[in-house]
Structures are given as C-alpha cells and as structure tokens.
C-alpha cells in the first residue's frame, strides 16, 4: 500500500505531481476508454473533463437521467478559499480547518490539494452559469458554516447541490452532443472486472430489461456516492447504496475507515414504522431554537402544557458555553441519551423539541420568518404542524460517510486502474466532515484532480488488450448471474426491506454515534445471524428479466449485510473516540470524547480475504508535518 504522496514541501506537492505526471499526447487520447460509474457531482465533472481532454468516456448511472444523482439534495453550500470577504481566509486556513474538523485523521497532502483547487471550482461553476448568490454590487457573496471562523461558503438559494449538478450535467451533455461520450442511464454496475490485476471493466444490469452486459475499458472510475443508507434511516436518497464500492472491495480494493459516519442532529424524525427517508433541516435553526425534553420520563402532555420548570433544556444545562450550538456529534449524542432515558417526545419517543417560542417573543415573528421562513414551511409541509405555534420535533440521523474505498494521492485504489472519487472514497474528511465540504471535494476530484492522474496512469502503464472475449469478463458475468439466481430462489419469505430495516436498527444501536466493545461484538453476532436468515428467507416477487425494484433492493441489501459487519469490525478495532464517534471506553473524566494519537493515528484499510474469512487490516500511518495535533474542546 503506497499512498504516493509527492515529496517536498506541502505547498509544492500538487504542482510537482502534475509536472512529473506522464502525459498522453492529444492525438492518442481517443485510443483510451474510461468508464465512469456515477453521474453525481464527482462523476459528471470527471466524465465531462475527460471527454473534453479527448478520451473516450462511457458514463453509467442507475438513474433515468444523470441529473437525478443524490448530489441534487445538498442545500447548504460549497466552500472555497477565495477570501472574497477579506476576512483572512487562505488556502492554508481552509486546509487547516478541514484537517482539524476531521479530527486529524486525514492526509495532509490530499487536504491541502483540495483547498488549493477549491478556488478554481467556483470560477468553473460561475463560467458554466451556476447562479450563485450575489451582492448588490454584483460580486459573489458568502455565508458562514460550522467549524470555520471565516465566511467562505458559496450558495445558490437552498439548491446549491442541484445547481452545481446542473452545471456539471450541462458540461456532460455538451460532450454527449459532440459525441465524445456515451451515456448509459438506468444501468446498474453489479461487478468490477479485473484482468491481470488491473481494473478493466464492469458488469451492468439494465434496470428496464434486466439484461446483463459486460463493458471493457482502460480505466474504471467509481463515483458512486456514499453508503449512509446502510442505516436504513438516513437523509440519503433511498436508492443510494454500497454495491459498486463493495463489489470492488470483493475484487481486491481496500476499504478504508468504514466505521466513520456522520450523524446530523437536526432531522425531521420518523413517524411510524414505514417511513424510510428522513429529511434534513438546516443546522442554522439551532442559532435561535432551544432544545428541550420533559424532565419526567414518559411525560406525554402536549408541549404547551408542560411548565418551564418541568422542562430540561439539556444542552444549555450540560454545555453552558456552547448551549444549543454544541457541535453536531455532541448534540446528536445528547439527544439519543435523553430519548434512551425515556424522555423523548412524539409518538415514537424518538424526538426532542426545538422550540422557537422564546426567539419569537424576543425578536418578533417577522424576524424569525425572514431567517427561517422556508425551513418552517418545509417542516410544516412534512409534519402538518406549525412551528411558529408548536415546537419542532427533531432527531439525529445518518447523513454522510467519511469511510470509503482507499485511494492514494492520485485517487487510485490499490487495484491499478480503479479510481474512486467523491463520497465513495475515504480521502479528505478524516473522522468528521465540515459542512459544505462534500460538494467541494466531489468537484475537486472530478474537475481538477482525476483528469490529471488518470492521464498519468494511462500514459505510464503498459496495458494489454482486454477484449470482452477475455475469460475474466465471462467469469465475472457468471458470478453476477449466480448471485441473482441465489437471491431469487425463494418462492415465499420475507421482503428485503424488512431485513434492511432490521439491519439498520442493529447498526444504529451499536455502531452509531456511541460505540463500546460489548455492543459491537453483539452487533457482529446479530448481523451474522441476520445475514444467514436473509439468504435463507429473502423473497423477491416479480421476474429477473424486466424492471424489478425488489430485486435491485435485495442486491443492495445483500451487500449492506456484509459491509455492516466490516463497519463493526473496524469500529471495534478503533478503541479511541474521534471525530463524531464516541468510543465509550475512551472518554475524558468529564465524559467527552478522547482521541488517542499515540495508538490510532492511522487509516485502517481493510482487505477482503475470501468468503467467511475475517478481513485483514493494513495501517496507513498518518504523518503530520505541518499541523500540530490538538485537542478538541467545546466546553
């Protein structure tokens, strides 16, 4: 495992890397084919740029259009070190904030490069016509986001992700119109084809016809997003899944820090057992809302009838200096704790109040309306309750995964020819991601990093021809067929959805925001049992040879079942608290998360060892040459 970090000073690494890269002459580029799986921010930007450079590009997405990728959901914004506000921002400051926010579990060199190219992302998007918010004078405006003391977040109303994706999509469609790339919508990648140790193709299933097909290429890019949906309840799009990444793992790619997930404290909670998608509410609400639960267990009175002295404003009580603005992970854990104590509100008991009554009294309804009007309207639309009159109910939910396929500085996996971009890789956010940094990373990877490093790979590697007639394609296709047959063998039984829900419960309980040795061991046992039951009993109505969403789901859940175990194994091994994760055995005397740099300052990269065998861990030690490791303190 070589992370291929260029030598020399931090500031010069990327420049040197680009200079040392092998080049492919423009006239030769059309001889190389690159498969890009995923058309979210990372995939669309990479595909468009590679096609502009002259490579032959084939794009795959399971959506009916590339513009439907999950990136569309991002509301908040995108960071960049432009220093347009003249408030002391710089590439170095963005780099430092990201390293610190990630609790010192990311690579310095990667993060520095991310900060370095961030400014070009904004320029590129502006040139594409992304309508970022502007000042009256016509310059670009910014807002502040958590974890930073400067204002560096660019936004396009509440639809930043959508507008950025439209920009990347329009660049993609331009290349499509010029016939520089092929577009395969509604095709799901079900396996990776490895020839002579190199990634050379994929197997896909057409979601309309069920047809399985093999595709060959000189390099394969996975930009397939995150696997937060493994928890069943998450803010991710319902279809987001781990299959592409997990199949690559089973073909030899390393999976890094799989247990690093991010939990967001302000989501609209579940109502009833049948809801499966949670809605994210902007965290800015915690600026004015007060979080509380009843002091007494099981107090089911409506909030208006609970007198103030019978309420527990627990964040203000426990964190007097930060109060309701305590960091994401601390606020999330506190909410789970009070609900576990039986003091949660709402019919499920899995919610806490976020109350604006005081803010409305002090600042007036109009002020609150200007600040949060659209969020209040969204809340009312979903819950049918008016937050100007009754407190909102919120609960934490899984939002993002920092873990993902291991990549080196070139964003290439240990499997040569396999590049992984966006949320699907593990690279830049360490143990915790700062707000508005995922969009930045996806576009940095796709527009400004991978097109260079893929060129270097293609220019510097001897690639034997890998025609579809090569036995590896038939072999992998056979594996995919056998798996589908195994999944569809039962004539009756339990739905994949039911298994998914149960899996989510186990993970949320034991591998969520707080973990401990006994809980993780218990979870591993429970997951194994559930997985056996799944293969024995899962029932898929309908047929394999046409559109069948149950079959799609079952395949994804099958992979979740295996990844869930690895997440717990990874969490079990990491006996420190870090980022958003509290390891209960590793706390300060005051009950705060305690990192252990002496033992755990590394990336855990797991290698598949065969069916039923425990995965093998490789450690990539993290070396900090520029920043000093510091404690996180929010008291």
């Amino acid at each position: 495992m070589d992370s291929r970090i260029p030598a020399g000073d931090l500031q010069g690494k990327w420049t040197r890397c680009k200079f040392e890269n092998k080049l492919v002459a423009p006239a030769n580029r059309k001889k190389f084919t690159v498969i890009v799986v995923g058309s979210g921010l990372a995939g669309a930007s990479a595909a468009a740029t590679l096609a502009e450079q002259g490579y032959k590009v084939k794009v795959f997405t399971y959506h009916d259009s590339p513009r439907r990728a999950h990136s569309i959901a991002a509301q908040g914004g995108i960071n960049a070190a432009k220093n347009y506000q003249n408030d002391g921002d710089s590439v170095y400051r963005l780099f430092y904030d990201t390293i610190k926010g990630g609790d010192f579990r990311a690579r310095e060199a990667n993060v520095y490069r991310l900060a370095e190219v961030s400014a070009s992302i904004i320029d590129q998007c502006v040139a594409q016509g992304v309508p970022f918010a502007r000042e009256y004078g016509g310059t670009l405006t910014n807002r502040s986001f958590g974890g930073a003391q400067v204002s560096r977040t660019f936004y396009a109303r509440g639809q930043t992700g959508q507008q950025l994706l439209l920009g990347a999509y329009s660049a993609l469609m331009r290349q499509y119109g010029l016939k520089h790339l092929e577009l395969h919508a509604r095709e799901e990648m079900l396996d990776l084809v490895v020839v002579d140790g190199k990634a050379r193709g994929i197997v896909t299933r057409n979601l309309k016809t069920g047809a399985l097909q093999t595709h060959t290429a000189d390099a394969v890019v996975l930009a397939t997003g995150g696997y937060g949906n493994i928890f069943y309840l998450s803010t991710n799009a319902k279809k987001s899944n781990a299959t592409a990444a997990w199949r690559a793992y089973k073909r030899g790619a390393l999976m890094a820090n799989p247990c690093f997930t991010q939990i967001h404290p302000t989501c609209i909670p579940v109502t009833g057992d049948h809801q499966s998608k949670l809605t994210l509410m902007s965290e800015s609400l915690r600026n004015d809302g007060r979080v509380w639960v009843p002091k007494a267990k099981g107090d089911k009175r409506p909030p208006s009838q609970i007198p103030v002295d019978e309420r527990d404003y627990y964040l203000e009580r426990m964190y007097p200096s930060f109060g309701n603005l305590a960091p994401r992970d601390i606020a999330s854990r506190a909410a789970k704790r009070v609900c576990d104590e039986g003091r949660g509100v709402g019919s499920s008991g899995l919610a806490v109040y976020l109350d604006f009554a005081d803010a409305i009294r002090v600042q007036g309804k109009e002020t609150i309306e200007t600040k949060y009007g659209n969020l209040f309207a969204m809340y009312e639309k979903i819950t049918d309750e008016n937050p100007y009159e009754v407190p909102m109910r919120i609960y934490p939910a899984v939002h993002y995964v920092m873990g993902g396929l291991w990549v080196d500085y070139h964003l290439m996996s240990n499997l040569p020819g396999l590049f992984v971009l966006g949320e699907a890789n593990f690279s830049d956010h360490g143990a915790n991601r700062l707000g508005a940094s995922a969009l930045m990373q996806g576009l940095a990877d796709g527009y400004f990093v991978a097109p260079y490093t893929i060129g270097n790979y293609l220019g510097g590697t001897k690639l034997a021809p890998a025609p579809l007639s090569h036995e590896a394609f038939a072999g992998t296709l056979g594996d995919v067929k056998a798996r589908i047959a195994l999944l569809s063998k039962n004539k009756s039984g339990t739905s994949a959805l039911e298994f998914h829900r149960n899996l989510g419960k186990i993970l949320w309980e034991h591998c969520g925001m707080a973990r401990n040795d006994a809980g993780l061991k218990k979870a591993i046992g429970e997951i194994k049992t559930l997985r056996e039951a799944f293969w024995e009993d899962v029932f898929i109505p309908g047929s394999e040879t046409n559109m069948n969403s149950e079959l799609e789901l079952a395949g994804r859940v099958a992979d979740f079942m295996e990844l869930a175990e690895l997440m717990c194994v990874d969490a079990l091994e990491r006996k420190e608290s870090c980022g958003g994760h509290l390891r209960e055995e590793s706390q300060t005397p005051e009950g705060e998360a305690q990192r252990d740099d002496s033992k755990y300052c590394y990336v855990a990269a797991w290698q598949y060892q065969g069916e039923g065998q425990p995965a093998k861990m490789h450690k990539e030690n993290l070396v900090f040459e520029n920043v000093k490791l510091a404690e996180r303190n929010y008291k």
């Binding site: 502006v126 502007r134 329009s170």
Partner: protein, 124 residues
Amino acid sequence: MSAGGFTSVNTGTAVDGNVLLVGEARAESAMDAAACIGCGACVAACKNASAMLFVSAKVMHLAQLPQGEPERKTRAVNMVAQMDKEGFGSCSNTGACEAACPKEISVKHIAKLSREILKSKACS
C-alpha cells in the same frame, strides 16, 4: 440539453468568478429560471405536450447571465429546434404548465424566449 443548454467552457479555462459582475436582481432572476428541476410536469400538464416552459427556463437562465452571452442566440434557436425535432407540441399559451410546475417557473420565460428567437432571426 446537449443542443445548447450549456456554456462552452472547458474545465480549467474559466476566469475568476468575480471578473464578470452580476447584479443581485439579475442573479436572483437567473436563479428563478435555473430552479427548474427538469421533472416534466409542465409537458405532462400541457394539452399540446409542449416543452416550452422547460426550454424557456434553461434559455432564460443563461440568457440573463454574462457567462451565457456569447452563445445566447444560437442556444435559443438550437434548443427550440431540437424540441421541435423531438416532436414536442407547440405552445398555445394555456398556462397549464405554470400551474403544474412545482418550482413556480413562470410563463413569462416563454414570452421572453419567443422574443429571444425573434431577435436572433432579425439580426442574423
């Protein structure tokens, strides 16, 4: 989209984001048009199955920004031509699209698009 719903700018060739100033009102107005999510509800609601609301939203999003200026005329003409080629009906101003649109895209964009087309024909 591939018929012109873009600005022809390759990755890495962009100038600084603040070089071309865009007034707040204009940026907001471009954003109003850009808010279209391409859901197709407008086409479904239209008795002529016209895609004018969708196309006009894209054209007017870029037409209002300096970054879209160089290809302004060809974009309008090509996108409408592509729409006709794909067999979408023509617009008879019933307004059903606006009523059906989840993003409140206004029919005024259609009127503006027609003006864009006229202008480009008059000048060419």
